[in-house]
Symmetry: C2
């Protein structure tokens, strides 16, 4: 959203959707029905591939939260108190964390509406996201930690509570880069000289690329993923792709856990399949470290552990890895029994990654 009034409109829409939910309960009561709330079943078996949008979404199976038991009624009571809190928060232009919501419930007059533990409040907010089709960010619920950064030829405007800030993500930031805010939809992209976006798993490699001036030489926006990326990081990656029409490539360690990092950027996760359209960048491509690179570049490796092997085997069944490329790479890795970190490229010298490896791979992929 690009201006304060847009933000206000977004807030108003989110607030209305929440109040509609509460009003559904009201109508059910008024008609003498037992109030219920229907939500998609969130299991692996209820995930389907949406061919149009190229992302994984929930299928048709739903679960019903009903007030026909004391436990069910309490769940709906908690939902109503939470809706009231969120609606007030939006009206006041404030925000809070999931953890604050949990603690804040202790101040509610109705003791039975208070949460028993943080899992319960987290789960409820996810349910409300799914049912209302409004993201947590648009409820003004902040994550506990975000913290990833951007460095590259991108000029943006961030709408903060203290006014607008216009920041160039190379010229106006220190070596640490631009800190992605909790809700990146407060950012408007003003201008850029970028040819593509490179998402990097580890801080050590991100710093290597920045030190070697890779972002300047190749006009690339470097997004630090910091391991499993936060929602804010995935969201801004998607927006860089969609709004600026930039190719996105993902650069991780060469092990099954890193392939999941790639998959969460490209396809989202089962836990957040309701957010795939908002968070996932299905066009994102995996640059490496590939098992084939371990062989081709003779990288220093560690042997696969039992849990690595289990994870690779489970990826062979994961719908997100069902194509020839991934089957070939995963089978090769199981065959050689080895994994390699991205920084293992340093065994060929500190410039090998920026002068040889990435240019070669980007050339193969048609990005450079």
């Amino acid at each position: 959203m690009s201006s304060e009034s847009d933000t206000d409109t977004e807030d108003e829409i989110a607030r209305e959707r929440l109040i509609e939910l509460a009003s559904d309960f009201y109508d059910q009561f008024a008609e003498g029905e037992v109030p219920t709330m229907e939500i998609p079943t969130r299991t692996k078996s209820n995930i389907v591939f949406d061919e149009d949008k190229d992302v994984w979404v929930y299928g048709d199976r739903t679960s019903t939260r009903s007030a026909n038991s004391v436990r069910g009624a309490q769940k709906l009571l908690k939902a109503i108190y939470t809706i009231e809190f969120l609606a007030d928060q939006l009206e006041q232009g404030r925000s809070s964390t999931l953890r604050e919501l949990y603690y804040l419930s202790e101040s509610w007059d109705e003791e039975r509406a208070q949460f028993n533990d943080q899992d319960e409040s987290n789960q409820l907010v996810e349910d409300l996201e799914i049912v209302s089709k409004v993201t947590r960010e648009d409820f003004h619920m902040r994550p506990e930690e975000s913290g990833a950064t951007i460095m590259g030829p991108l000029y943006l405007r961030e709408q903060t509570r203290r006014g607008e800030r216009e920041i160039h993500c190379q010229k106006d930031v220190g070596e640490g880069g631009y800190q992605i805010p909790n809700n990146p939809d407060t950012i408007e992209f003003l201008d850029n000289d970028a040819d593509f976006v490179l998402c990097v798993e580890t801080g050590g490699m991100r710093d290597r690329l920045v030190e070697n001036g890779f972002d300047e030489e190749h006009n690339v926006i470097i997004v630090h993923l910091k391991g499993q990326p936060a929602r804010a990081t995935r969201r801004i990656t998607k927006r860089l792709h969609d709004d600026l029409d930039l190719p996105v490539v993902v650069f991780c360690d060469g092990d099954p856990w890193s392939y999941r990092i790639y998959a969460s950027v490209a396809y989202g996760s089962i836990k957040s399949a309701h957010l795939s359209e908002y968070l996932a960048t299905p066009e994102a491509e995996y640059i490496g470290i590939q098992p084939a690179d371990i062989v081709e570049y003779d990288l220093p490796t560690d042997p696969l552990s039992d849990s690595d092997i289990n994870a690779l085997e489970s990826e062979l069944d994961d719908p997100r890895f069902q194509d020839d490329y991934w089957r070939e790479q995963i089978e090769l890795q199981l065959d050689i029994g080895k994994k390699a970190e991205q920084q293992a490229l340093a065994s060929r010298g500190l410039d090998f990654v920026t002068e040889t490896y990435l240019p070669e791979r980007l050339g193969e992929m048609g990005v450079l």
Copy 2:
């Protein structure tokens, strides 16, 4: 350091110290002695309190690395190769991570100088830090992750590889704040309107303070610790205290692990006692959550786990907690058997922390 030429001088000093070490080995060889390297013994029993500097440092006991065995000789060989690598790196104005050093050793012609695992190279760099009295940062060794941020009335100049950047840590940054670089000694403080520094453990609380405008209202520089703080975060905290003469207070969860976070800011750790003068801020005070606050403010709590109890008991023996204040708080906590998170203050409303709790505590401590 304030300008490029200062940086060059620092680099030259670091380089000379390293070369002196190598030259000591050379002299030992020349005189027909078996080369040795003496380093302080790094155990809890060899930590002593330096009354002058108010920090914990290594005592007089030393261990000797000698070339009188194959294993010892290999260690010194690795040290010499590493010294050469670091000296070249400094000469070229480059930097690298500990992990890159490990992998890079695979490219060394002498196979016996290559590291067997990352623990070995990490340990060697720490040894070199201690013996040369040059910090890792001044060797241009970067950490894998830094990532903490600053928000507050502070105007600074960061010397980056791409030139100087002048940044105001409220007006020139987004809501995420200013990202602390890996080596904060590249920062010069230009101007500030700050009355004190508040270090905050969790992202959720840091965001709460920023949303509530606490940094603006009370002229405070908010440093996000992100759990156990990185060296860069501790270093900049110390510099804010020493260079700007600002009081430092530390705001964490109310549990034994958080007391250790405070202790690492204030006193450093056994592992890095050689760096206490560089990293520790012994004047830093603990604001809370105190066990006394759990009682006074009737905060929502969790019961202490067995490992919490063990950690508290071990803190009663920890030299860093040997005073009446900590003994009283730790004994109170063992007595009530409870712990509380900082965000538990939200049970009294989202503004309670900024309107009541922090002003009250800061008043008691004489900071406000």
